[in-house]
């Protein structure tokens, strides 16, 4: 039995001023119904490109899916027509974006924007769709939804807008829900509420959730399984508990040590030194080598592949050779 959504060896390239670059390189992920997959990494590591590839929203040109497959319930999304893709988008799979402030159209009421999503995929009139939209707003915890449905986005707070985005995304009960940094732009108390809401929605609708984040804290709260991405590749993949308790890759260890330890009076945020290298600068070796404390000569000449070295799969020569 295969997974609900299965990404196999996905390769995405972009034409840039520096020539073609590989934004995603043999990325393989899967997620089952009712499960939450956390995809974690710093910005520029390919998380969002992965999400947009699933939705078929890679800006093209300059982007292009150059290889691999994305199977939703067995159907390869890289091969279907644009019309079929439109029918799937919003209905079978939906996405919540990072910026609730700018992701809603400023000139339409939020009720109309949700109703539009409903009407695009169900044979209902505007009146019925709008009533459904109000019910959805109620479901995502927006007080006096009747009145709020007639509000424009600028009249709502950031947290409210993200609830609207969630209502819109789940309006057609999608099988897969992709949440791309859904709480990054919100303040901390609202973050927790949005996570609770996503969990509830998953319980009610049984959707698979792909949660994209740079925040290991969010992973520990939400994810069943985790894939860590770096420079367009998956470098570690396992259950959330395994990754959090026994991180293998030095990059994953770095990310975990960045979680601020609450209550310890330790306000200093630690960071991994250095930045993700630009994609056109990637060499023959491990992309993380520049920033890695365990770097040795093999790291500069050979790309490590994602292999189980005892505990769970990680792409690291140092782990393979037992150096860490």
């Amino acid at each position: 039995m295969s997974a609900l959504l299965e990404i196999q060896n996905l390769r995405v390239t972009f034409n840039t001023r520096h020539g073609p670059v590989t934004a995603l390189d043999s990325v393989s992920l899967q997620v089952n119904a009712g499960e939450t997959l956390g995809v974690v990494g710093e910005s520029g590591c390919g998380k969002s490109i992965t999400a947009l590839s699933v939705m078929g929203l890679i800006p093209s040109p300059p982007g292009r899916i150059a290889g691999g497959a994305i199977r939703l319930a067995g159907e390869d999304l890289t091969r279907v027509s644009e019309a079929r893709m439109r029918a799937l988008r919003g209905a079978e799979m939906a996405m919540i974006f990072q910026e609730p402030m700018t992701s809603l159209n400023p000139v339409f009421t939020v009720g109309d924007q949700i109703a539009e999503a409903i009407m695009l995929h169900q044979k209902v009139g505007h009146a019925q769709a709008f009533r459904d939209a109000v019910a959805l707003l109620d479901r995502v915890g927006i007080p006096s939804p009747e009145r709020r449905a007639r509000d424009y986005p600028h009249q709502l707070s950031g947290g409210m807008r993200q609830r609207v985005m969630i209502a819109m995304a789940v309006s057609c009960r999608p099988k897969v829900l992709i949440a791309d940094e859904p709480t990054t732009a919100l303040d901390v108390t609202v973050q927790a509420q949005i996570f609770d809401l996503l969990n509830e929605i998953q319980r009610d609708f049984g959707a698979a959730i792909i949660l994209i984040t740079h925040d290991m804290g969010a992973i520990s709260e939400m994810a069943d399984r985790v894939a860590v991405m770096y420079a367009g590749r998956v470098i570690e993949q396992a259950s959330a508990d395994d990754v959090l308790d026994h991180p293998q890759h030095p990059y994953t260890r770095g990310l975990i040590s960045c979680i601020p330890a609450l209550g310890k009076g330790d306000t200093e945020l630690r960071e991994i030194p250095g930045v993700v290298p630009p994609l056109h600068m990637l060499g023959a070796g491990c992309a993380f080598a520049e920033r890695c404390a365990h770097r040795f000569d093999r790291c500069d000449t050979e790309k490590p592949s994602l292999v189980d070295h005892g505990h769970h799969p990680a792409a690291c020569h140092a782990v393979e050779e037992g150096r860490i």
Binding site: R89, G90, A91, A94, E99, L104, N105, Y152
Partner: protein, 325 residues
């Protein structure tokens, strides 16, 4: 839309119009020569009785402020003076001519916006495509062609090569007694060339502007949201993007209105269109100042009204502005 906003815009419009009246008054006083002679125009050459009558009517022997008061009072009563050349009140003269001008200007405005925005939206889909290049070339050409010359070239073309549109006037003489619809079709037929000539300058500008504006909007997050919902490309372009991209287009449409009236002046002269521009041209040739200043007053009033309408529609189109004053 708040009533107080509307009220304040109206008052401001009235103040601007008051300014135009004062300007008219000053222009006549600042012109070299005897104001009475100026008002009388060419007719005032040797007619002492006429000059005396004008002096009494405008109180030209009284202090300047009193004169301004008299002038303002006259304008408020709808009296813009007397055209001594046409021998008619200026208000009546303009009343007969304002309709055709409004018809011409509005048709040109609608034509240029509809066609221009349509071209711009299509061009925005392929920012480096052939249509985009074409639009930007046409915009530069359209800006550089003198509008009266375009009109003349069209007349040459349609009078001798493709005689399918009338090249002169607004109505056919032979249809004097015809019914309403026959006349309406006839006027529309006459309108084609002048309206197109006038629209041509602005069409390309709107195309270029809406292309730029669409490109900016198409890169925004809510467009991605619309696509993620499964909206069709047409809905994305014409519903989600255009509604937002239309805001700068509206602003420019409002600002362009004054230039459009200036263009209409030339186009009316070229096509013998019986509007205010043609009237201005005729009265300037005759040095008929009361009529010229009357036209200036009414044309400015049209701009004020157009600006007011632009402000209102801007608020309707952008919900973020509603409720603000």
């Amino acid at each position: 839309m708040s009533a107080s906003f509307l009220f304040r815009r109206l008052v401001y419009g009235l103040i601007l119009m008051l300014g135009v009246v004062v300007l008219n008054f000053l222009l006549i006083r600042l012109a070299p020569g005897d104001p009475a002679m100026v008002i009388a125009g060419e007719m005032g050459g040797g007619d002492q009785a006429l000059l005396d009558a004008i002096r009494t009517q405008y109180g030209l022997d009284r202090p300047l402020l009193t004169q301004l008061g008299i002038y303002l009072g006259n304008v408020l009563r709808g009296d813009l003076g007397q055209s001594y050349f046409f021998n008619q009140p200026v208000a009546t003269l303009i009343g007969n001519r304002i309709g055709p001008t409004i018809l011409l200007v509005l048709s040109a405005q609608v034509l240029s916006i509809l066609l221009g925005v349509f071209l711009g939206v299509i061009a925005a889909r392929k920012p480096n495509g052939a249509l985009s290049g074409f639009v930007s070339v046409v915009a530069t050409v359209g800006y550089a062609v003198p509008v009266f010359w375009t009109g003349i070239m069209l007349i040459i073309l349609f009078a001798s090569v493709f005689p399918i549109f009338p090249v002169e006037g607004m109505q056919s003489v032979r249809l004097r007694g015809a019914g309403f619809w026959v006349k309406a079709v006839d006027i529309a037929h006459h309108l084609v060339l002048p309206a197109f000539t006038l629209a041509l300058i602005y069409l390309a500008q709107y195309a270029r502007l809406s292309r730029a504006s669409m490109l900016e909007v198409l890169g925004s997050d809510y467009i991605r949201t619309a696509r993620a919902k499964g909206a069709s490309e047409r809905a994305v372009l014409f519903k989600h993007a255009l509604r937002n991209a239309s805001l700068p287009i509206l602003t420019v449409a409002g600002l362009q209105f004054g230039n459009l009236i200036s263009g209409a002046l030339l186009v009316e002269t070229v096509f013998n269109w019986p509007g205010m521009g043609r009237l201005a041209f005729e009265s300037i040739l005759r040095r008929d100042y009361p009529t010229i200043l009357g036209v200036l007053f009414f044309a400015s009033a049209m701009v004020v009204v157009a600006n007011l309408l632009t402000d209102l529609s801007y608020r309707l189109a952008d919900p973020r502005l509603r409720g603000k004053t």
